[in-house]
Amino acid sequence: MTDTAPWTPDGLSTRLAGDRTVVWASPHVAARVAARWSFPHVQALDAVPPHAEWVVVVGGGTRIDAAKLWRYDTGRRIGLVAVPSLWGSGAEVSPVAVGPGVTKRIVVDPTLVPEARVLWPELADSVPAERVRWACGDAWAHAVEGFLSPLADDAVRADGAALLARLLALPLDRDARWFEASAAACALQARASVGLVHGLAHVLEPRLAAVGDPRADHARLCATLLDPVLAFDLAQSPKAAAHFARYGVDLEAVLAIAAALRDDETLRALRPHVDAVWPDVVRDRCTRTNAASVRASSRDALLAGWPA
């Protein structure tokens, strides 16, 4: 886990040699990146030349995770600089990488963490408002699930409480402070675990993607699932509420944020999918470390507050 300060876009230009660095950027920001940095671009990671010493990956969490896994799988001795185009995933600071596929491949290894990250808030300017909101929900899910994790110790919970207070001061809207806040949220959960929000998202994403459902979006799912999962946790385990009280977190304010992130239309559409894949959700590694135990018989309790 890196906790070093992010570089600026200008700082990256001065730190890396132009003839040893390549950029792998998402198409939606590639022109902007090319205008700012003179490094050559590659269209695929397989095209990174052998002499390259640095790859600068610019994009969302999926693209950053793909670069992390490419280096991990190939064993290339090459530096990685992550430039998130939107906050939320925290992939730029995380020792976890999630690969694509029907069964989500999750790798946890400290060597996955990029050597550096660049804070370039303007990249998020062109992101649609609803994606911005989902990204806020992604960060919130990391923070809440990390704070409540049964694997969290006192230090993690104290840091989590401070982080939750910090998030409560941010709008569910475009704000450059979300980049650092979401990186902190990701770092927090990496010290403990996530829970049922992520267990559901990891099982549902590939199922939805297989039928071309636009809801197959990690941040979107996390944002809307936080409210029902938090309600489930509070109903099933008295410890959940006790953690909020003990560490002085304003639970009512957190619940109001979760309610604001909830999208009933999405929950309604997800309901039959949850029914169908519930055993897989129970077995998911993230679900296993949920704040409240999740069992085969828990489905009805979870779905109780969902729109029919």
């Binding site: 049964p150 694997l151 077995r283 949920n290 704040a291 409240a292 135990s293 085969a296």
Partner: protein, 81 residues
């Protein structure tokens, strides 16, 4: 419901076991869903069900159902019913 019943319900529910699969001499090695992360879920469920918070060492030392029963009995939760 006896404590044996509560423990059986918890483990079959968390580990997705069929009723016929559960035995008090069942061990972790026999259950493919009983991995290290399932241990966390079981520990969480034991706290919710019996009010006992297992330490990390206790949780990781559990080798099967019998170990859980012995541990809980040592903490004053009877299974003599």
């Amino acid at each position: 419901m006896t404590n044996h019943d509560k423990l059986r319900d918890l483990l079959t529910d968390v580990l997705l076991l069929g009723d016929a699969e559960y035995r008090t001499d069942l061990t972790r090695r026999e259950v493919d869903t009983w991995d290290s992360l399932a241990v966390v879920a079981i520990a969480t469920g034991i706290e919710e069900t019996f009010g006992y918070h297992m330490s990390e060492a206790e949780a990781m030392g559990i080798g099967g159902v019998a170990d859980i029963i012995v541990l809980l009995e040592q903490r004053g939760i009877p299974f003599g019913d």
